[in-house]
Symmetry: C2
Subunit: 229 residues, 2 copies
């Protein structure tokens, strides 16, 4: 079975920085499924046209293209039931939607102001123009003005993590004794940040930092090379 994951990349093709692509990369590793991670850039819409999607992640499994991280995760769980579960059963799958929604709607917005300029700096020229235009329209201000006080924003981010922190005080992973897709969704945000920024997002004694390091220890070889190569 051939498997290709299209992943958002910077000018350097090994710099992968989409949180949504990272969660699928982690899900594929969780299931022990081999794949080729293929770099893709914002403005490379022609390369994705075959899939019907204009965004990554797109997973192509035996010629079938699947877009949208949540759809891909559901597909992986259904298509590979003999492999370690991403959700721990139907109730777990339903409950995980909250972790994913919280990551997308609360965690990412707290993190993105800290990363915008770094992301822009790492893109190739065509993507830089696209990124500046689309993000300045989204935030209604110049990129450089989105985060006037990074220290205050860092404090917001750390406060935002409080429910994750509370859970990780009583168990090793959001999924319990081992990671589940809920962990991958949140970890995607940290690997996104890691891909473009050297900023220490967490205090060394934060239980979330201890969890982040446990998640890094479990990265597959390919992911480790991309994140720390």
């Amino acid at each position: 079975m051939t498997r290709v994951l299209y992943e958002l990349a910077a000018a350097d093709p090994d710099r992968r920085f989409s949180p949504f692509c990272w969660r699928i990369r982690l899900a594929l590793e969780h299931k022990g499924l081999s794949f080729e991670g293929r770099p893709w850039r914002f403005t490379d819409t022609a390369a994705l046209a075959f899939s019907g999607s204009d965004k990554v992640p797109v997973l192509v499994e035996d010629g079938r293209a699947i877009a949208d991280s949540s759809v891909i995760a559901g597909h992986l769980e259904a298509a590979h039931p003999d492999r370690p579960s991403l959700f721990g059963g139907p109730a777990g799958a339903a409950l995980t939607r909250f972790h994913v929604a919280w990551t997308d709607q609360v965690l990412h917005p707290a993190l993105v102001p800290l990363l915008l300029l770094d992301i822009h700096r790492h893109l190739d020229e065509a993507d830089q123009a696209y990124f500046r235009r689309s993000r300045e329209a989204r935030f209604g201000k110049a990129l450089a003005d989105v985060c006037p006080d990074p220290e205050a924003q860092l404090a917001v981010l750390r406060r935002t993590l409080s429910p994750v922190r509370a859970v990780l005080r009583s168990q090793a992973f959001l999924g319990g004794e081992a990671p589940l897709y809920a962990d991958h969704a949140v970890m995607g945000a940290f690997l996104w940040a890691r891909g473009v920024s050297a900023l220490a997002l967490l205090e060394p004694d934060d239980p979330v930092e201890a969890w982040r390091l446990r998640m890094i220890e479990r990265l597959g070889e390919g992911s480790r090379a991309l994140a720390f190569g």
Copy 2:
């Protein structure tokens, strides 16, 4: 098997308003376990002394006292495995900790400023004094000054619910097709509010409001009488 649930009550013993007690009441109904809900007041510490806890909920099952809502929920699941599951399995139990932590640390703080004066108004005299003293110490200001702009706070509350809203756009309950303990944790907040305030917390077309009404439809008779009697 006799079962007594000690629940926080206002001057009117049928006005029950602790979100933590409500989630256990919903959990007991979920499991189809009969119980007597016994009103308890903040300053009634003598009545709880037997349990070793100075707070409700306390569940007494066949003479054994169990305190703390999460501990009680875990006990109910372990002691009554033949009844409908609160978590849908071990992964679900681990994942539910995030819903509970988010409710305690994010949802309740967004809601409590809107309720403080109403709670105070409904308490008996001894509890009023305790409540004012302890809450003014916690907020560092007079009760009347905690929420200078209720409309703005209501907007905060509705924004805070965005990840719940996102989940409920794609499924009927946080637990999927039927409620799980994650639903009871969040619903506890709404029944707390309902117990003391007539404020419409949600817009009629909000998916969270549709879910709240579905949860109300499923209340047992005793709970319905307390919440709407």
